[in-house]
């Protein structure tokens, strides 16, 4: 993003300002070199990482990469099935990464990876109370989104479809309902498969898009990252520009027919 774009249309989450509206994940990349090229092409400023046991090699590779690229790491609680697991993971992430920010993820089962709304709201309340800046991955449920905002979350991140499916935005109207009533940024998180779907999320009024698989598992991750970057920008601009209403019948874009040449006898 250029400085001009940052100033004219920044993404503001809590007390932070971002020039890019594309938040990236890191899962699924074949290796760190592929991930680096994709992150650079995406021009992302915020990227999520998981917390796991340190392996024997003792590496902190992905963290080093993000720091080198000047990208803010956003730890997540991926893999957690209960509020208790998510709270502990968030606290460990705060220690390891020295950040209060957390992408809160509490899934119900490994087949759908859908958020467990009961555990999610419980975890959100506990983490907000503990001083965390909470960005919850949630269902495309307008009521739950409101409850999460009321709990003190700084954004709500509804899914378009289940994680990693690439099924796009299955219920666009619900996303619009969430946007219409949200007082915090709405970030479309999960399900995006290609750039047109990232653009659609922004056209529906989302403030940002978070995606990983669509880029990291694309045949050419770097090129798809660039496509997503452009898709998010195009969708954002279209939203700001204000689309025309949809009509049933055609409406000529040329001047009235009265001035057009007609042929009487052919």
């Amino acid at each position: 993003m250029t400085a001009t774009q940052t100033l004219t249309d920044p993404l503001v989450i809590a007390d932070r300002v971002f020039g890019s509206r594309l938040i990236m994940g890191t899962g699924g990349a074949a290796n760190l070199e592929v991930l680096q090229r994709a992150l650079v092409a995406a021009q992302t400023e915020l990227t999520t990482v998981a917390m796991r046991r340190m392996d024997a090699a003792g590496g902190t590779g992905v963290l080093d990469l993000l720091r080198r690229l000047g990208i803010e790491p956003l730890p997540n609680t991926a893999g957690c099935h209960t509020a208790a697991e998510a709270v502990l993971t968030a606290r460990l992430a705060r220690e390891a990464l020295a950040t209060n920010w957390v992408k809160l993820e509490v899934v119900a089962d490994d087949q759908t990876l859908l958020p467990d709304p009961i555990e999610l709201l419980d975890a959100a309340e506990r983490l907000v109370d503990d001083g965390f800046t909470v960005l919850p991955y949630t269902n495309d449920d307008p009521v739950l989104a409101q409850r999460l905002e009321q709990a003190g979350c700084v954004a709500v991140m509804p899914l378009g479809s289940p994680i990693g499916t690439g099924l796009g935005i299955r219920n666009p109207h619900n996303i619009e309902l969430i946007v219409a009533r949200a007082g915090v940024p709405v970030i479309l998180d999960a399900g995006i498969g290609t750039a047109s779907e990232a653009a659609l999320a922004m056209e529906l009024g989302c403030s940002a898009v978070l995606l990983a698989t669509a880029v990291t598992r694309a045949a050419d991750p770097e090129l798809m990252a660039a496509a997503m970057r452009d898709g998010v920008r195009a969708g954002r601009n279209a939203r700001l520009a204000g689309r025309i209403p949809q009509r049933f019948w055609a409406q000529a874009s040329s001047p009235p027919r009265a001035g057009a040449i007609t042929v009487q006898n052919e």
């Binding site: 994940g25 990482v49 917390m51 340190m54 902190t60 963290l63 502990l88 460990l92 390891a96």
Partner: protein
């Protein structure tokens, strides 16, 4: 005494601290967090928190995911 770190057993001297354990496994100094049981051991307390025989210590770091 035996301390279990990330599911692997390590022999540590009596009175060893969490900090001693981390140095023994050559953990990096930054980018990691430590839990003993279900409790986070804050960085500031690593050298003053002693481990006991049979303790389970988890050392976590950021990885690709999500």
């Amino acid at each position: 005494m035996i301390v279990v770190v990330n599911c692997f057993e390590y022999e540590m001297p009596e009175g060893a601290s969490v900090g001693d354990v981390l140095r023994a496994i050559k953990a990096p100094e930054t980018g990691i967090a430590v839990a003993r049981g279900d409790e986070v051991v804050p960085r500031a307390a690593w050298d003053t928190t002693t481990v006991r025989d049979g303790d389970g210590i988890e050392v976590l770091t950021a990885v690709q995911g999500g």
